[in-house]
């Protein structure tokens, strides 16, 4: 009895392996041949690319930039690209250990630059110049709200409406939706320094904020929150910006006393110094990479609205925009 059963199991196991193996056959080919081809390609492209450690910070726009550069590096330079899902701050710590080579979309971190750039810090990171996107951060409300109460677009009128924004989480005050606490933001300081009757509640992620904004527009709910461009979602729901006291140089220097709006930011590439000094062929690709907010929104839309994987989305955009890609590869 026991033997019979185990023999049956054995046969079953063999059958399963055989069928999967057979279904896998057909497309294959010899590994040795491919190895040789890879070696030749590396020799042709004038050097090895090796590993490229690409940080991926948690918002879709960043994913778009990172995977487009990564896919070009992989397909056209033969790099092994390792995508690392990390918060902004943690990514910077990775430059020193070699865990991270490239942060492709930096929104401005003076404190981290002080720690890791050569002039004041340990010199493990360096600025590789702008990547073409212009970042706008601010306070936004859904379009229906801006239409019905146009005066809400001025911060001084916010307190008048604070009660309308109250939820179970905001303790009687208005609820202000912060996104991911790791993003560049001063909302809690702004709220308290402008004496606004609001409480910052964090949605935790870009996607959760989008969900809240989408629902708010559909059901005409009162919602206000931290939001930014480039942002694919703005094509679906055109979020309206609330004006805060205008930005002046230095008004964000002390995070605790901020009482002004966010500036327009030229987004930059930050790279690890050791990697930048290496002879990896991807260095010049990252140095040359530059695109526009529209470009990024297209790829981000592929990922978030059309449900493509970041790799597919990047590959599709690269195919459609080979001329731009070629310029990076020169």
């Amino acid at each position: 009895m026991r033997i019979a059963r185990s023999r049956g199991a054995r046969l079953g196991a063999l059958a399963v392996v055989a069928s999967v193996a057979l279904s896998a056959c057909g497309g294959g080919g010899s590994i040795d041949e491919q190895t040789q081809a890879n070696e030749e390609q590396a020799a042709e492209s004038g050097g090895e690319c090796g590993d490229l450690n690409m940080a991926v910070n948690p918002w879709v726009g960043f994913q778009a930039s990172a995977y487009v550069v990564g896919t070009v590096a992989e397909q056209q330079l033969g790099c092994t690209v390792n995508y690392k899902d990390l918060k902004e701050d943690v990514s910077w710590q990775g430059f020193g250990t070699g865990e991270v080579d490239v942060v492709i979309e930096d929104w401005g971190h003076p404190d981290l630059e002080k720690k890791f750039f050569a002039d004041q810090g340990d010199g493990s990171a360096e600025d590789f110049g702008p990547q073409g996107n212009v970042g706008i951060i601010g306070w936004f409300v859904p379009p229906w709200l801006a239409e019905e109460h146009p005066d809400i677009l001025e911060w001084s009128n916010l307190n008048k409406y604070a009660k309308e924004f109250a939820t179970s989480e905001s303790g009687g005050q208005g609820q202000f939706i912060g996104a991911d606490p790791s993003y560049v933001q001063f909302d809690e300081a702004i709220v308290s320094n402008l004496d606004l009757d609001f409480k910052v509640v964090f949605s935790g992620s870009e996607a959760a904020s989008i969900e809240a904004f989408r629902k708010a527009e559909e059901n005409k709910e009162w919602v206000i929150g931290y939001w930014y461009e480039p942002q694919y979602f703005n094509a679906e729901v055109a979020m309206q910006r609330v004006a805060l006291p205008a930005y002046e140089d230095g008004c964000q220097d002390d995070p605790q006393t901020v009482a002004c709006d966010y500036p327009e930011t030229e987004l930059k590439k930050i790279v690890g110094s050791d990697w930048a000094a290496s002879d990896s062929t991807a260095v010049s690709l990252v140095q040359n990479f530059e695109w526009t907010n529209e470009d990024q929104n297209v790829v981000a839309g592929y990922i978030a609205s059309d449900g493509m994987s970041p790799e597919e989305a990047a590959a599709k955009w690269i195919e459609e925009n080979q001329d731009k890609v070629d310029a990076w590869l020169e």
């Binding site: 199991a9 999967v20 056959c25 497309g27 890879n38 701050d89 710590q93 020193g96 809690e188 992620s205």
Partner: protein, 701 residues
């Protein structure tokens, strides 16, 4: 369990004990004769002083509320937090020169190198080779063969199906990464844990010291490890393996030490009289006799490692946790569902394999295990097949790269549409449940705890601790509260405590309903228990997503996730406790003609009180650790502080203080409930040991 021959009666007791360790709550429970009626009276009367304290608290609160709450809103931090941040900055700035940092970074480097080497061997292209050294067919074949070699054909089949499912559902590489990280952590756990287990098993004093440390490690919510681990071991593989290790070592040390300690003294004396040395005794007597218990410890360690390795994705640990956490960021339930299920598959595979291996080794040691020659031939023959498969997978591309199937994304889509349909259906109801509980229960309670002046809340908690835990709980409570006060996050701690208490109340309601139902109906038990096992294995991030979709970012979301996380363990404990009530007692009750309701409330529940307290204890700790993760989805309070500290270096100090506060909160709740359990002596001493083991997974009994 394997039958025990006569003559090894005392050793067999060790086995029974170890079984209990894996499946908390004794099988043949309560010593007959317990509980003395006096205990029951004491239990009821304890609620009266508690109610009195609560009334006094509310009275004082009503005219002091809002004063001295020590609230520290938003980004504000104190000098203490700043000095912790400075400490972090100094360490980071000196990471090239500081010997401690050099040492920990060195360990991290080694871990990374080993992982990288294994990855090139199994997972990713070893350039210029387009594929890893060993392709999927080779890996599947060898893994299956190992399953056969250490256990049986049935296990080999389970391993085979599991491995194929990793690939067929499209997560071949992440699954192997997770296995590698888990394997590395378990390997190091053995190196570190076995000597400690021997120490704990052979020296009473060492055992006491080790137990204190292990208690502390196991009370700490997993998420909290990540703060110091990132500092010393960095992100990625290094940090992931180390944090996994911290979580996984305790069960091995505890259960292994227990097994060694339980080796019969008669046997030791008998062999000692033959003049053996310490090492002979250890290697020839104690370790072999405790082998089965040690493997049980290894089983628990492996499962713990698997669950922590998933959470380590938060610090870029490789493996199946990554797609799960990415899906959380993208709010995409479908994409988290498939990897979540695969983690359960992996857990079941590892659990059943290690269990079967231990049973087999036991059988072989007793001279069983079938015809040795036939088995050797079978092993050799299948081994050759496995080697051929390895060879083929090194040559042919299609046998090296796992073919792509669409079934994974189909399942994900189906899961997604099912979930969104469900949410559309009950969304409105969910919203009103959330608002009902938030406004009716959570907010008033939060107001009482967090809006009281700190001294009032502190006094109230101490008084309640004394009522429930007796004087034993007093000292720990005072020390923990003082620590929380010192760390400058008092208000946040009270917010978190509120969520934990509300969550635990909900957990206990579920545990009572389902636990009693399972205990009274065998079929319900058989039906529900696998679900509970799965619920304990699915990484918390997976069910955070649908809960988030239902309830939005809020404290209630964190509470519900905590309830889902804690309920399985609590339900099992209550079910086992109620089931253990002696049938004679129940029969006696029935003969007097009591109703079912009377039977449950007057006999079964009072007699299972020990299990109820234990379930409460586990409920509190599980909910705490999940509520902290809830800080990622708008639950504010301490969890948010920790998430903030991990993600922003200028807030590191506040995050670290938050982490420590969580630990203090956990220790306090744990000690109070433990003391409460010890005040009630209505269950056997073994139940208390079950405090020491988390993640009890087992077949229905």
């Amino acid at each position: 369990m394997s039958e025990t021959s006569a003559g090894s009666g005392i050793a067999a007791r060790g086995l029974v004990e170890s079984e209990r360790l894996t499946n908390p709550a004794p099988k043949k429970p309560v010593e007959p004769g317990a509980p003395p009626p006096g205990v029951e009276d004491a239990g009821i009367s304890r609620w009266i002083p508690a109610l009195g304290i609560l009334l006094v608290w509310i009275a004082v609160w009503s005219f002091t509320k809002g004063n001295n709450t020590l609230a520290l809103p938003g980004r504000e931090h104190t000098d203490l937090h700043q000095s912790l941040t400075d400490f972090n900055n100094r360490l980071l700035a000196g990471r090239e020169t500081n010997p401690v940092m050099q040492f920990t970074n060195g360990i991290s480097d080694i871990l990374r190198t080993v992982f990288d080497w294994l990855q090139r061997l199994f997972v990713r292209p070893n350039l210029p080779r387009p594929v890893p050294e060993i392709g999927w067919l080779g890996i599947v074949a060898v893994a299956t063969w190992v399953g056969y070699a250490i256990a049986s054909w049935r296990i080999a089949l389970l391993v085979l199906v599991s491995f194929l499912s990793f690939g067929v559902f499209g997560y071949w590489e992440d699954s192997l990464d997770l296995l590698i990280v888990t394997g590395m952590a378990v390997g190091i756990s053995l190196l570190v844990g076995l000597p400690l287990a021997v120490l704990a098993g052979t020296s009473v004093r060492a055992n006491k010291a080790i137990t204190v440390v292990l208690d502390f490690m196991q009370t700490m919510p997993t998420f909290v490890y990540l703060v110091p681990v990132v500092l010393f071991f960095g992100i990625g593989v290094g940090g992931a393996v180390v944090s996994t290790l911290i979580y996984a070592v305790p069960p091995l040390v505890r259960i292994g030490g227990f097994g060694i300690r339980e080796v019969s003294t008669t046997t030791i004396e008998a062999t000692d009289s033959a003049g053996q040395t310490y090492w002979q005794r250890l290697f020839k007597v104690q370790l072999p006799m405790a082998r089965k218990t040690i493997i049980v410890g290894l089983n628990q360690t492996t499962l713990a490692a698997l669950s922590m390795a998933t959470i380590a994705a938060y610090i870029n640990g490789p493996g199946l946790g990554k797609p799960v956490i990415n899906a959380l960021v993208a709010n995409d339930f479908g994409k988290s569902f498939v990897p979540g299920v695969l983690i359960v598959v992996m857990a079941v595979m590892l659990d059943r394999t290690t269990t079967a291996a231990s049973e087999r080794s036991e059988k072989v040691a007793r001279g069983g295990g079938g015809n040795l020659r036939v088995r050797r031939i079978a092993l050799a023959a299948t081994g050759v097949i496995a080697l051929v498969a390895v060879f083929l997978s090194r040559r042919d591309l299609s046998l090296a790269e796992f073919p792509t199937y669409t079934i994974g994304s189909k399942v994900a889509d189906a899961a997604d549409s099912t979930m969104s349909g469900f949410i559309d259906l009950v969304g409105g109801l969910a919203e009103s449940v959330k608002n009902g509980i938030s406004y009716g229960f959570l907010n008033p309670m939060q107001s009482l705890l967090a809006e009281s002046p700190w001294w009032l809340a502190g006094l109230g908690i101490v008084a309640l601790a004394v009522v429930f835990g007796g004087v034993r709980a007093l000292l720990t409570t005072v020390v923990c509260l003082a620590g929380i006060w010192f760390l400058d996050l008092w208000h946040d701690a009270m917010l978190t405590l509120t969520m934990v208490l509300v969550g635990t109340v909900l957990v206990m309601v579920l545990a009572l309903v389902f636990g009693v139902w399972m205990a009274r109906n065998r079929w319900v038990d058989i039906g529900i228990r696998p679900l509970l096992d799965a619920g304990q294995t699915i990484p918390p991030f997976v069910y955070l997503i649908p809960v988030l979709a239902l309830f939005g970012f809020s404290r209630f979301t964190a509470i519900v996730a905590g309830v889902v996380y804690a309920a399985p363990a609590a339900i099992k404990l209550v079910a086992d406790g109620v089931k253990a009530v002696s049938p004679t007692t129940i029969e006696a009750g029935r003969s007097t003609g009591q109703t079912t309701w009377q039977e449950i409330t007057k006999v079964q529940l009072p007699m299972a009180k020990g299990s109820l307290v234990l379930a409460t204890n586990q409920g509190l700790l599980y909910v705490l650790s999940m509520v902290v993760i809830g800080g990622l989805v708008g639950a504010q309070a301490l969890g948010y502080d920790v998430a903030l500290g991990i993600s922003r270096s200028e807030e590191w100090g506040k995050g670290a203080a938050g982490g420590l506060t969580i630990v203090l909160l956990g220790v306090m709740l744990d000690r109070i409930t433990r003391a409460a359990a010890e005040v009630r002596r209505d269950d056997g001493p073994t139940t208390r040991r079950a405090f020491n083991v988390r993640l009890p997974i087992g077949p229905p009994r």
